[in-house]
Symmetry: C2
Amino acid sequence: MARIHYNAAQPIAAAPVTELLNRLEVEDLRDNLRGAQELLHRRELGELRALLARLHSADIAWILESLPLEERLEVWELVKADREGEILLELSDAVRESLIARMDADELVAATESLEADEIADLAPDLPDEVIEEVVRALPRDERAQLRAAMSYPEGSVGALMDFDHVTVREDITLEVVTRYLRRMDELPGHTDQLFVADRARILRGVLPLARLIVSDLELDVAKVMLPEAVKLRPEDRAEDAAQLFERYDLVSAPVVDHFDHLIGRVTVDRVVDYIREKSAETQLAEAGLREEEDVFATVLDSFKNRWAWLAINLVTAFIASRVIGSFEGSIAKLVALAALMPIVAGIGGNSGNQTITMIVRALALGQIQAPYWRKLLRREIGVALLNGVIWGGLLGVIAYVLYGSVELGGVMALAMLLTLLLAATMGVAIPYLRARFGRDPAVGSSVLITACTDSGGFFIFLGLATIFLV
Amino acid sequence: MARIHYNAAQPIAAAPVTELLNRLEVEDLRDNLRGAQELLHRRELGELRALLARLHSADIAWILESLPLEERLEVWELVKADREGEILLELSDAVRESLIARMDADELVAATESLEADEIADLAPDLPDEVIEEVVRALPRDERAQLRAAMSYPEGSVGALMDFDHVTVREDITLEVVTRYLRRMDELPGHTDQLFVADRARILRGVLPLARLIVSDLELDVAKVMLPEAVKLRPEDRAEDAAQLFERYDLVSAPVVDHFDHLIGRVTVDRVVDYIREKSAETQLAEAGLREEEDVFATVLDSFKNRWAWLAINLVTAFIASRVIGSFEGSIAKLVALAALMPIVAGIGGNSGNQTITMIVRALALGQIQAPYWRKLLRREIGVALLNGVIWGGLLGVIAYVLYGSVELGGVMALAMLLTLLLAATMGVAIPYLRARFGRDPAVGSSVLITACTDSGGFFIFLGLATIFLV
């Protein structure tokens, strides 16, 4: 497949995003990275600079993320100063930090000059205080207010996804007038699929989808053609809820209003896509005990910092489980087979508990579990655990019998497996239920909690039964 | 907050999607579910039917997902036949199956009547063969060809995300003519942010964004205003790559062409959002050992079927680890403290290995690891493992010494921890590297594989060292 680049004659920063995309196919992305690496290794920095100038900032961001630190910094040096801001926005947190840490205050202030208020707010948490102060001072008054507003919304809220770019029209003008008004603009803000209709006091009266504007009679008033109010978001709504609305109703943009229905800004689908991706990455990383997205080329010390907390928690839970075993050392000394069999019980219990809790946490996040149905769920999970317990417990009992020739040991194994699976099912329902009840996020650390329960519980049940019946 | 519904006077099936959204806020969704449940419990079925008629099909789908099977079927009975198709499309696989299993062939054929070819293709895997045959026979010739094409693309390909709805114009006409042509249509297909410019042979010549059409001089030819080709997808491209293009370039729609650049269809951002969500759910579920999305209200038997495979694999790996321990029974019998300490070593090794493999699998999926950098990565991971090993191994050694009063035992514990962490780091890099090299998906079962290595390996290292130095 031919490698085709953007038409370099088009000025990158000014062109609307779609314009940058000319002639791009999936394969080209990888070719560009390989091209950049080759030019860097052959030290053809002039050519590399020219290649970077032709690329979309998202592509440059990806190339930076795919290079080890030294090479990353070399490429970063070749990027034009007026594009640094947009590229920083596209980078993952870890890589962004690695670059910002090596830029001085003047460079950082210069990098933000091409950005809008909502974009500066996205970078703000990573910028030194003196840079932010200087940036705020340099802004025109209305953008300064927007930046303050944007910085005031917490991560995970609609306010943090919002931008201030949108076209507003009045309802008492004709589509003809709207069309002439639009034609006087050089371009519409990206992702404008609808215009917002507001009155003199900026109260949202409705929306006018472009697709509707285009097919309607130009003589008509906006009021006749507009949809009287669409999905409206509030800046304090949860971003997750907004994402669900976008997904459910296939939105491209949605207005954000305050409690008096004043139009403040809008959320667009591209930000929602980024949010969904980041959120899903976070969940995946958190489940493996990584606190945040890790730069693949981070230093040993940075990686250690990102990972130690989880290992410490793990150490505590493993220590507790170990003490449970320690308290049965007498039984193990008498029947050493117990030591070999006990990890099977705890391990399968842990997996089964994780299955239950994952399913429930996910359904909770989708809002699918209503108060009256918890009991039903618990009954179902106990049913599954009984079935699993009889089948796997029976199988393990037979295996233990075959290995060690003791019917009693086989029986204890089977019974312990059954009881551990019942414990796992109960805790798998109880943990998210209690966390949701007390207003905590049921997802956070759910896997650690259930594994801690099933490990210690499984060892206790198995060794306890063995002590009663065998020793 | 007042509960406001759609304007029921608007015919739901015919209206463009945005029109259905009037007056919706985040809270309304939960209110509607509660309302539906109350009406069902009070047996006010006429009112419930009226409520359902006012709701968007995505909302009805969500209500169905949030109800136990019997109530779900009752609500389903009240849904108008001509909306069943769109609602089935919105449902999760598991819930969709639960409803289709209870519909007869005639109902299913009727449900597909309101759907387009690409939508029928989405339902097809769940439909009985005789229903598909009948549906195909009832379609007009061109849609029949589209359905065949859509059904031929495998899940996870761009072809499976594609629809056939788009507006095509020629490049030698003026924008004035385009505008008049559009105004003769009742509405544009959903998510039309750009028109496709194609020649007589349907070869894609470029795209004309609506935002550009609206701000440009109507006297100009399409050829002057269009962008000469934009991001183009092929039906055989991976859906994941397409999702990355949409995310990277903030697209709303993209044309799909064949190898000769003939326009076949398009992909829209709403399908991409659904794909991303489903994919992330799948990963999350797979990591917990659930084969597919599970209906929270599934029967015990269905849940068991969804979960047993993973537990069986887990049983095998646990059995292997158990045999490793079994081969050291002599040492454990002499020094029973080993039994209490060994799960700590294996457990922390497993967690540490999972951290490494998750980070690498994710970076691989984002295309961030190039061939020359594997060695660098391995060196970094070994560095982190050494640091972790010295710190946690040292701490555990001290704890073992305090608990059991033996310096040798403490030393063995510390050394075993260090070696197990090194093993975990090496396997955490090697497993995804080898899988990627041999063309397999590095994500599938990565957690099972690494845990199997660290469990058996951790037990072997700890008990082996103990046997050499202590017993």
